[in-house]
Amino acid sequence: MSSSQQVVGFRPPTAFSRLWPAPWFGGLQGSDTAWAIAFVVPYVAIFAAFVIYPTVYGLWMGSDPSLYSLLFSDPRYLTTLVNTLLFVAIGVNVKMFLAFLLSGFFMSRSWWVRSLLAIYLLPWALPGLTVFLSIHYMLVTEWGLLDSLWRAVTGEDGPLFLVSTPIAMAANIVSYIWKWMPFWTLIFLASRMAIPQDIYEAAEIDGATGYRRLVHVTFPLLANVYLICTLLSTVWTLGDFPTVYFVSGGAPARLTDVLATYGFHEAFDFGYPNLGVAAMMSALPILIPLVILLMRRIRVTGVQL
């Protein structure tokens, strides 16, 4: 879920089997089984009613092939596809890479870095709605905060951000990074802290310091976490709605829509819910392989969600 805060912890795979607890007296019997089933029923009911049903219904809504020929004949849809790819490819990768580097900075134990971390994580806790609207207002007129700062520094009028398609798209991506980089920094920070100190000491004796330590020790140890986080974030970001909806609002002229906002407008502003579902379903050819790859990596590596 891209619109929420989630988490990946890290644990070496060996610990997995050792900590797996023994079953209750070698397996459930009689009334215990009934109790266990009763305990799972609420979740299974929710899953059936609010995940399976809407999924099946959505698949049915988007099952008419003519919807897709309609979609592909819409030039705005093709723009949306390109935007979504740019948004995900640039947004996720830049965010992950910066988060990885910054997690090294936040390893410092000094008091001011720790206090900074507390503030730096704020975007993670804040509602996307309010911060993205605030960013929208920084950009939407030539009297927004960014233009005022620009004027104060250069003495000239700043650009009108949401009039230019590339700048509006860049604004979406930067806002997305602003909101989600702290969360992933925290994940990488936790993973870094889980690396035993003696590995670094051994590496130091072998002469690995500075950037060599980063490239040859830290990164290989975190490669699995990095890969899984990137996959997970890619999947969530493919369905990201609030960033583009509030920051650029599709401006100028619906040229910066992504799949989620395009589907939303088709379904609720223009009254074609089936077309909206079809637009989102057109992400499935990318989404399904990613999810399969992700679930498999999680199982193989023992990185835990």
Binding site: M1, S2, S3, S4, Q5, Q6, V7, G9, L19, P21, W24, G27, L28, D32, I37, F39, V40, P42, Y43, V44, I46, F47, V51, Y53, P54, G58, W112, V113, L116, L126, P127, G128, L129, L133, S134, Y137, W143, L145, R151, W178, L186, A190, A194, L232, G239, F241, P242, A260, G263, F264, F268, P273, V277, M280, A283, L287, V291, L294, I298, Q304
Partner: protein, 288 residues
Amino acid sequence: MALTSGRRRVRRRRAVGRLPAVILGVGLLIWTLLPIYNMLLIALSDDGDEYTGAIWPDDWNWHSFQVVWTQDYWYLEHFWHQLGNSLYMSVATMLLTVLIGSLASFALGRMRLRNGWIVTDFALLTYVLPTAFLAIPFVHLMHVYGLTDSLWSVIAAEVTFATPYAILILHQYGKLIPMELDEAARIDGASPVQVYLRIYLPLMAPALVAVGVYALLLAWNEYLYQYLLISSPRNTTVAVAIDQFFDSDEAPWNYMMATAMVYSLPPIAIYFVLRRFMVAGLTMGGVK
């Protein structure tokens, strides 16, 4: 003499070595606070005066906060009621997520229900998928369930998206609690319900707090489902009310940002008070 100048040189070198870190730190601080500062800047400006190009508020005008407080603008006439709705919806989501998630993770992780991995896998799958993809069918769904324009339709959606994470994290954390405790209680004649209430829940408290805060913030901060599933002004939440300002031609952006500011305060407060649990929730089961 030579000694002190040498020491000074070392100190100066150390300060110079720290300079890039300080610059990075200041950059990060500005980067993080800029949108939040902008929210405050607009909220503090006079009516119709939001865009004077000021970088610093000329006079600290708390008028818009007063308007929000007294519901003195027609888009804000249900403000307190809507804030109550947001709170009700979030707290209900939190309680249901903790209850349903802990029951399921107890049955799956502690009682080891046969074929329970199917449920865990479905939870993982739900967790991984983007929520926006289910939004359009959800609107139809709530008509079928007769929950249109009801807060409970939103609660159902938020619980659906929060429980998978709850199950995964609780399952994970539960592995750290020795199974022998359950078995000892069983030998003493405790029923599964008693083991759940007296042993599982108390020992899982930190994880339950982490999961609860997660669900609370997920529901409070979410927008799309609140917007789609509720239509009447009295039943809606603050998140939807804020966005409704866009429908106005007057565009009282200072009121809108003041409302946004008030709406952002509870998550900020929760974050600063319960940060430790939230961060622990991220690393639970992983970093010991």
